[in-house]
């Protein structure tokens, strides 16, 4: 069997196996390359994620008292939020938000507080249309990936369907999602072929497909060598009047 014949056959049959996936790779790759990753991450949608702490901190609830109350604390974070000082106490069991002036526990954050925080963090032009406490791990949305529940899900009515996830324990903005992120994630699923969790690119399906895809690309490049080779002249059967180049013939009756 001649090489170009073999190359075309191989390319064609490999296309059957991996052709559609190759298109998914290319199209999803083009999307991921083209759309700014900072936009996908939602950076333009948020503000006030960190705030400068005030200068006058003399009246704070003392840190040594916090350590007395929470002897298991591995970290005590002092931050400002909506202008007010807060402590976030982390232990092996979880986190607690405290009012840094009174020392009072602010956890858990209620619905109106979650909405106020979401509005505080939001830099878009929409309004909140829903705020739901997610605590049923059987009904967790895939877009929060492996982030632990509970979480306040706050949805906005802007064009790109922005959704904020706010921690009910610390009030932090855990993550934000929007239409373009969701599309990105959907395409990422096809790109890495992890249709279940959309995170694991060490899966065997991807490995096999990528190997076949490599062969597919190589046979394509191989085929290119033949396709671009200078066109030979066809050997016309039965009637051979086209053999040779007639331009060499000069009419001259002997």
């Amino acid at each position: 069997m001649k090489a170009p014949f073999l190359a075309r056959k191989a390319h064609k049959w490999l296309a059957l196996i991996v052709g559609i996936q190759a298109m998914f790779w290319m199209v999803s790759g083009a999307y991921m390359a083209t759309v700014d990753i900072d936009f996908i991450h939602g950076d333009p949608l948020v503000k006030n994620v960190v705030e400068p702490v005030g200068k006058d901190l003399a009246e704070l609830y003392p840190m040594s008292d916090i350590l007395e109350r929470y002897p298991q604390a591995t970290r005590v974070q002092f931050i400002a939020r909506r202008g007010d000082p807060h402590y976030i106490v982390k232990t092996a069991q979880g986190s607690t938000l405290l009012d840094a002036t009174t020392g009072a526990e602010r956890t858990p954050i209620d619905r109106s507080e979650a909405m106020a925080l979401a509005t505080h963090y939001y830099a878009g032009d929409g309004e909140i249309i829903a705020a739901v406490l997610l605590d049923d791990s059987d009904a967790r949305p895939t877009e929060i990936q492996s982030r632990p529940l509970p979480l306040w899900q706050v949805r906005f009515d802007d064009r790109i369907e922005t959704t904020f996830y706010v921690s009910p324990t610390t009030g932090e903005l855990i993550t934000r999602r929007h239409t373009f992120w969701r599309l990105y994630d959907f395409l990422w699923m096809f790109h890495i072929m992890d249709y279940e969790n959309r995170t694991d690119f060490n899966n065997n399906l991807l490995r096999v497909a990528a190997f076949v895809g490599l062969l597919f690309a190589l046979t394509g490049v191989w085929l290119l060598f033949y396709s671009l080779k200078k066109r030979q002249q066809a050997v016309i059967p039965v009637d051979d009047s086209n053999i040779g180049d007639r331009s060499d013939l000069v009419p001259k009756t002997p």
């Binding site: 170009p4 073999l6 083209t34 591995t74 970290r75 060490n202 039965v238 180049d245």
Partner: protein, 625 residues
């Protein structure tokens, strides 16, 4: 597939080919790098396999008697706004970490003194984080960003371990954070990542202009590919996978050589692609595209009634299609079909010959003897070969033209040089029968000078090259080709030739007289312009003397006075006709073999047709060289 769609598909095919040329290699690199990133375990890549489970000590275990946040803020004395003041333990003591936009600082939570992360501290922090089998082999200060800590800034410690993966931890010098866990797996991964995102400098930005451009092209490329995919597959392709194919209608393909004799019978199935089915039986037609319908090489004769495909219309001339020529890669096998193929497909070889000898037979015809690498080049008298004319640039001055040829070239204003821009082929008939000298072939090459007044035409690129050859030069040829042959019969043989049409006629005549010891009556009329244009004349005179059944008659069309020509003058075919009538020959009992310049050929055929000679007893070689 409907016909209109097929016409559109060729554009996708072309697009696919040219885009493939532009980005094919990168697509391959994406596949390879994607595969490698898929294969490299991400736990290893991220250094998690040698990362200790964090066992973070409660702050109160070090000290409960800590300074207040306000005290620390004073000591930090930061001009930039501070965002975060965190109390945590650092190497067994309580410490405050103060973050501003520029970075962070660490303070002892009890004394308030500034903590600096020393090399020893870095080693201790690295040791806490590391669970692998290696030992620390070096601790060096480094400055971020650098390739392995490109997302960070500021001073850092580079702590290297001697494990099998060359683990290297980076510790921030300001607050003792683990910045990165790097190892050889990551380093390999990172190279593929770089290739994948096409950011060869920073290896970070997958929104760079190059990858955007190439990936958008690739997306279109893949869409053209999908269109071709649906166009390329037929139901038959899948049925062909199953062995036996008992449910498919069988078909017999009779493969015929040009004279009509069946050279092979191929068992196939209705609906298969003719090209593939023939290839399955080792009848591999020439093809560059391998059956894609783009190169136009895999031609067969299926008869004028066979439906024309879009590719046939695109690649074959109307006259070819009218004769039944089709592309075999586009034809579906029908039950009991007859396929005409060139017998060259079965017998032609490609070989490299060496020029043995060159001489001028006339001012415009050069005889070239070629020595072949093997002695097994068998061919029937009347065959021709294709000569591969490579790209060249030649100066006429160095060709050693005869003075007549030089004058003629000057007369048509031929440039000083002749250039052949792309490799091409020329057909030349073999001027001797195979038996004469095995392993050697002889060509008669006429220098093709355009007629005076046709300045636009260059001197023939093939003949110029052939005239430049010297003994020892190499030449690639393909052959034997053609079906101009002496027929097996007892009929009289009438040869009419002119110019370089001498070659195949001479081969057949010599074959008949010298090797077949044929007793058939053979007459040869050969036309030339002047006496100087006559060649092999003495040889034919001798043959005529030795063989009473052979007679030859040279005819000059424009004899010069110095020629002192006593023989017939005029057009060779007219003289031949006159003589035949004069001899009262029965035209119906003769076979006519004609070879020469196209006008002569056409005139002779017309004349024979007028005389009622049936077409099947006129044999001609159409290209006259």
């Amino acid at each position: 597939m409907t016909r209109t769609l097929v016409i559109e598909v060729i554009w996708f095919r072309r697009l696919h080919k040219w885009i493939g040329l532009a980005i094919g290699i990168q697509v391959g690199i994406w596949m390879l790098s994607g595969l490698m990133m898929g294969l490299l375990d991400h736990e290893h890549v991220q250094g998690h396999h040698y990362q200790a489970v964090a066992d973070v000590m409660p702050v109160s275990a070090s000290s409960r008697n800590v300074l207040s946040v306000g005290d620390i803020l004073e000591r930090a004395a930061s001009a930039a706004p501070i965002f975060d003041i965190s109390l945590r333990s650092h190497l067994g003591r309580a410490a405050y970490q103060v973050k501003n936009a520029g970075g962070s600082q660490l303070f002892d939570a009890t004394s308030g003194s500034r903590i600096v992360v020393t090399a020893e501290d870095a080693a201790a922090l690295a040791g806490q984080d590391y669970s692998g089998p290696g030992q620390i082999v070096s601790i060096e200060p480094v400055q971020a960003p650098s390739m392995e800590i490109r997302r960070h800034s500021g001073d850092a410690w580079r702590v290297a371990f001697d494990d099998d993966d060359a683990t290297t931890l980076y510790i921030a010098a300001d607050d003792g954070r683990i910045l990165e866990r790097r190892n050889d797996t990551w380093r390999l991964f990172d190279v593929f990542w770089m290739l994948h995102i096409m950011d060869y400098k920073e290896r970070e930005d997958f929104n760079n202009a190059l990858v955007i451009l190439v990936s958008l092209i690739a997306a279109w490329f893949s869409i053209t590919g999908v269109v071709l995919f649906f166009d390329s597959f037929r139901r038959e392709d899948f049925l062909a996978l199953v062995p036996g194919g008992w449910w498919r209608s069988p078909a017999q393909i009779a493969v015929c050589a040009p004279h009509g004799e069946v050279v092979a019978r191929v068992s196939s199935h209705v609906g298969g692609r003719l090209y593939d089915e023939l290839a399955r039986d080792d009848i591999v037609l020439p093809s560059n595209c391998g059956g894609g319908g783009t190169c136009g090489l895999c031609v067969v004769n299926l008869g004028p009634d066979w439906p024309e495909s879009a590719a046939d219309r695109r690649l074959l001339s109307e006259s070819q299609r009218k004769k039944g020529i089709r592309l075999s890669c586009q034809a579906e096998v029908a039950s009991d079909m007859v396929v005409g193929i060139s017998d060259d497909v079965l017998s032609a070889q490609e070989l490299t010959a060496e020029v043995a000898e060159c001489r001028f037979l006339t001012p415009f015809i050069r005889e070239i003897r070629l020595r072949l690498p093997e002695n097994d080049f068998d061919y029937a008298a009347g065959s021709y070969v294709h000569v591969i004319i490579p790209r060249y640039k030649l100066e006429y001055a160095k060709l050693g033209l005869t003075s007549e040829a030089s004058r003629s070239c000057e007369a048509v204003g031929a440039q000083v040089t002749n250039v052949n821009k792309s490799e091409t082929r020329r057909a030349y008939s073999l001027a001797t029968p195979c038996e004469q000298e095995r392993g050697t072939i002889v060509l008669n090459v006429r220098l093709m000078v355009p007629p005076e007044g046709s300045q636009a035409l260059p001197v023939g690129v093939g003949s110029t090259y052939m005239w430049s050859l010297q003994p020892g030069d190499k030449l690639d040829i393909v052959g034997p080709l053609g079906d101009f042959r002496a027929r097996e019969s007892n009929a009289d043989m009438i040869f009419v030739g002119g110019g370089a049409g001498m070659a195949p006629l001479r081969a057949i005549i010599r074959s008949e007289l010298l090797y077949k010891q044929s007793g058939r009556k053979i007459d040869f009329w050969y036309g030339a312009r002047t006496r100087a244009d006559l060649f092999y004349a003495r040889e034919f005179d001798e043959l005529q003397g030795q063989h009473p059944n052979f007679r030859w008659q040279p005819v000059l069309s424009e004899p010069l006075s110095v020629d002192g020509w006593q023989g017939p003058t005029g057009f060779v075919h007219a003289v031949a006709l006159q003589d035949l009538i004069g001899q009262d020959r029965d035209f119906g009992a003769c076979e006519f073999y004609v070879c020469g310049p196209p006008p002569m050929l056409a005139a002779t055929r017309r004349m024979l047709a007028e005389k009622g000679v049936p077409e099947n007893s006129v044999f001609f070689d159409d290209f006259g060289i």
